[in-house]
Symmetry: C2
Subunit: 217 residues, 2 copies
């Protein structure tokens, strides 16, 4: 079987980086196709007509969208280093937390910056992060995945890396190490993983992007 | 192995009914524990401390929340009638559409009723439903799952049943058979499945509930 893998990507996107980390964990070679979101390619519009967004993974001509769906697909198709737990209950719990990050933490964090640090938005974001903080405390493990990263750690790449960069860009700081020591400890461990380090865009790139986005330059 | 299955439920909830349909498809016997959302049980708060919502499935003491996560778990643990496709690509596509329904269609529909039929909200909801309509047209199959229902059909139970009942309760009608003939044809087929019929609450119950909720009585 041919094994042609293409990724429609945007270097600075935490959702794209999730997929890149998963591909890298499995040792999958792929063609990276960088998109321009202000002038989307015909291929992107053809492959993801519903959302018209990256990431899109195209495997042997078959397109898949939505970063967590793509990661599940990668884990289904390529054996080797597992990204989801094998045990059905552990797997369900991992899916629960990945979904929690997407549905609760990320929108709450975006709202903080979108509202220019509105007090209520910060309180709501802290409430969601506190749930993650408590979960890490209860587990007492290095990663959400235990000794190694799994889909939950990957889903939280935004929290580990982008959040601090956007705080720097906007000068709206709320997710401090004092308030969330466990999350920061986890983030340090996550960012120290070789597979993660190699993939993340430079912090300067992200800070610069969000300075522009939020009119701070 | 003991196989104790409990479902913390609310008869009128489309999310709970999703899980009940999945349990029924697999022929799993379970204890149904009806919750009172105005006076949540200690068990519910213990088993779903993050969202404090039904459905929660407790299998041999292990609690799982989020209806789609629960359905994936049920399909992982109990073999027999499959709820997700076996082929990894088909499975990814099913997950994509189930997520689309949760992330796009349901919030858009809720916004219509929450805004008392605001024009822009109706336009947005129709836009999302049109995507589902087109998808059914392209597929030309009886169900999203092909000849049989799968996780996408189950995820869309709200669209098949609740949407029309809430339209009746609120007298805000936008998802008409004329506009969305394929969705209505699919809904007829879905509601005609024995496993679905047996589980859905009565339409009068739903209409009555939403009449009260939206102050129409």
């Amino acid at each position: 079987m041919s094994n042609e893998v293409k990724l429609y990507a945007l270097g600075g996107s935490p959702f794209v980086c999730r997929v890149k980390i998963a591909l890298s964990m499995k040792g999958i070679k792929y063609e990276n196709i960088e998109e321009n979101m202000r002038n989307k390619s015909d291929d992107l519009l053809k492959y993801n007509p519903v959302h018209k967004k990256v990431p899109v993974l195209v495997h042997n001509g078959n397109p898949i969208s939505e970063s967590l769906v793509i990661i599940e697909y990668i884990d289904d198709v390529w054996k080797g280093v597992p990204i989801l737990p094998q045990d059905p209950y552990e797997k369900a719990i991992a899916r629960f937390w990945a979904k929690f990050i997407d549905d609760k933490c990320l929108p709450a964090a975006f709202k903080v910056f979108g509202s220019n640090g509105e007090k209520q938005a910060i309180a709501e974001a802290c409430e969601q992060l506190q749930i993650l903080e408590n979960e890490l405390k209860i587990r007492g493990t290095k990663f959400f995945g235990g000794d190694n990263i799994n889909i939950v750690d990957i889903a939280a790449d935004f929290i580990a890396y982008w959040l601090g960069a956007i705080e720097e860009a906007t000068q709206i700081k709320f997710a401090t190490r004092e308030k969330f020591p466990k999350i920061h400890e986890w983030a340090d461990n996550f960012l120290n993983c070789q597979v993660v380090k190699e993939i993340l865009p430079s912090r300067d790139h992200i800070v610069g992007f969000f300075k522009k986005k939020f009119g701070k330059v």
